[in-house]
């Protein structure tokens, strides 16, 4: 496979500028059985997240008497990728689940729910590049939809180096043939980026490039954050206009 030319006339393969996100669509409350849920598209990524809990933890010896236990399961549907993926967790999804859980744990007010469990399950229905960041964005909305108390919003985006340029939200080809990939998640509170919740990187960047990548990620995250908020607002508005009986029945 020949590496294609990824940047032509200052534009990326899909016509985006360097600091432009792919189209994003977020919808909260899409599942009935889950306590909170979210459907999210980001480019060709199609993600669905569900939150269950706070609920009882089985078996009991896994309970923590002082706070809630968080589980995060990142899973790819077998048909989500070009070559069918064998069902079940592989090493990549184990690692993604770990760092994603660790990004959410300090943001969820775990101490409010001793002995209980909060489960975040995220399914990748279609994968383009950046599934781990898209999943975290969906998970964050699903947690709020479930009414889980959070210290703020977790918003995630990746930055890449492509033919020498630092670009926002890389697509598949840029991920495959680019020189570096940096997925980042932030805690955002009161419309302000407060700190870093997830940070990974592979590739090759100078210190200067790494700093530039961080700045670009912050810009992108603020845009996504606004869409996350909007999705939750829309859900609330919809609920209010629905007949109260229906709501009770759920």
């Amino acid at each position: 496979m020949q590496k294609p030319k990824l940047i032509v006339d200052g534009k990326r393969l899909d016509g985006r500028g360097f600091e432009e996100l792919r189209p994003i669509k977020i919808e909260a409350g899409v599942l009935k059985r889950a306590d909170g849920s979210c459907y999210l598209e980001m480019g060709k990524n199609k993600i669905i997240a569900a939150v269950y809990g706070p609920r009882e933890v089985h078996p009991r010896h896994l309970q923590d008497p002082s706070k809630a236990v968080i589980r995060y399961r990142y899973n790819m549907a077998p048909f989500s990728v070009e070559e069918r993926k064998k069902p079940g967790p592989d090493r990549r999804s184990v690692e993604i689940s770990k760092v994603s859980r660790e990004a959410l744990e300090p943001v969820i007010m775990k101490e409010l729910f001793p002995r209980s469990g909060i489960d975040v399950f995220v399914e990748v229905l279609q994968a383009d590049a950046g599934t781990r960041t898209a999943c975290l964005n969906a998970a964050s909305v699903a947690l709020i939809d479930a009414g889980v108390a959070m210290r703020g919003m977790v918003t995630s985006v990746a930055v890449a180096k492509v033919e020498g340029n630092i670009v926002l939200d890389p697509m598949k080809e840029e991920d495959n043939y680019g020189e570096a990939d940096v997925p980042i998640a932030f805690l955002i509170r009161n419309d302000r980026i407060e700190s870093i919740a997830l940070l990974q990187m592979d590739g090759r960047l100078t210190l200067e490039e790494m700093k530039k990548a961080m700045e670009l990620a912050k810009k992108g995250a603020m845009q996504i954050y606004r869409l996350q908020r909007e999705a939750i607002m829309k859900k609330y508005m919809k609920e209010e206009t629905e007949e109260p009986e229906e709501e009770n029945e759920q």
Binding site: A34, K44, A49, Y52, F79, R84, P87, G88, E123, A127
Partner: protein, 272 residues
């Protein structure tokens, strides 16, 4: 505990409504919930469908590969049906390898497709005894509000009808539409006392999971049956459900076809 009492109350409520000839959501005993079929929603799959039966949601994706035929059918393609009851879809599903419910779901859906000869497997032979098409039908539950079985079966056949065989990618000729020649439809009924309720929703199953699934083909032949659940079924009830299921399947088949056609017309359902 609290949950148990809630379940008890729910069961009593459901039962009392049934005994007065009603279902809790106002449906007739032989009435399906609203059926919605959207195909072509996963562009990376060779075919796909998202099916909603009321609030129950299932997505099926089709992937195809070139593989070796089974020794006893050297001139036929291969179907492999798999189901993941991911914990996203229900508070009772746990992560891990498929449990008996997941295995049963996949196998009953598979039998419906296989026995109705819905896919013309002879046309999926590339080189006799050497190379045939392998169809992976992956059932991915999203929201289990009852009757995942029928939702999965509809999603599976809808996804197959949406499938393009990726011959060009595998360098074995030109892409072509998967040859689908029948539309098997499964109808699942919940048996309660002397009543039977088609397409039971989750709350109705608080009275027990006494189910029977009957799948029939476009000519009204029965092609698969599965009694599921720990209960005894009277012969009379069986015959009643048998006839009803075949009749009902015809209705559902029409709805599915019309939804797929509608989607095609709207251009919502893109072929991949």
């Amino acid at each position: 505990m609290a949950e148990d009492i809630l379940m008890d109350i729910k069961r009593d409520y459901v039962l009392s409504r049934i005994r007065s000839g009603e279902r809790i959501d106002g449906r007739g005993f032989d009435e399906f919930r609203q059926i919605s079929v959207q195909t072509g929603i996963i562009e990376k799959a060779e075919g796909s469908a998202l099916v909603k039966l009321g609030n129950t949601q299932v997505i099926v994706g089709i992937k195809m590969q070139v593989g070796e035929p089974f020794p006893d059918t050297p001139e036929k393609g291969i179907i492999i049906t798999n189901s993941e009851l991911v914990p996203l879809a229900s508070p009772t599903f746990e992560p891990g390898p498929p449990d008996e419910n997941s295995v049963e779901l996949a196998r009953v859906v598979d039998r419906g497709i296989r026995e109705s000869e819905a896919v013309n497997l002879e046309e999926l032979c590339i080189e006799e005894g050497e190379k045939v098409w392998v169809i992976f039908i992956d059932i991915h539950a999203l929201d289990d509000d009852g009757n995942l079985m029928d939702a999965s079966a509809i999603a599976a056949i809808s996804a197959l009808m949406n499938t393009t065989v990726p011959a060009e990618k595998f360098e074995v000729g030109e892409d072509f539409r998967l040859p689908v020649q029948d539309i098997p439809i499964s109808v699942t009924s919940l048996i309660v006392d002397d009543y039977s309720l088609v397409d039971p929703c989750r709350d109705e199953m608080s009275v027990g999971n006494n189910l029977i699934t009957i799948t029939s083909d476009k000519n009204g032949n029965v092609v698969a049956m599965q009694k599921s659940g720990s209960y005894l079924l009277s012969e009379e009830k069986f015959y009643e459900v048998l006839e009803l299921s075949v009749a009902k399947a015809e209705e559902v088949r029409k709805q599915v076809v019309s939804q797929i056609n509608q989607g095609d017309k709207d251009g919502e359902n893109e072929e991949s």
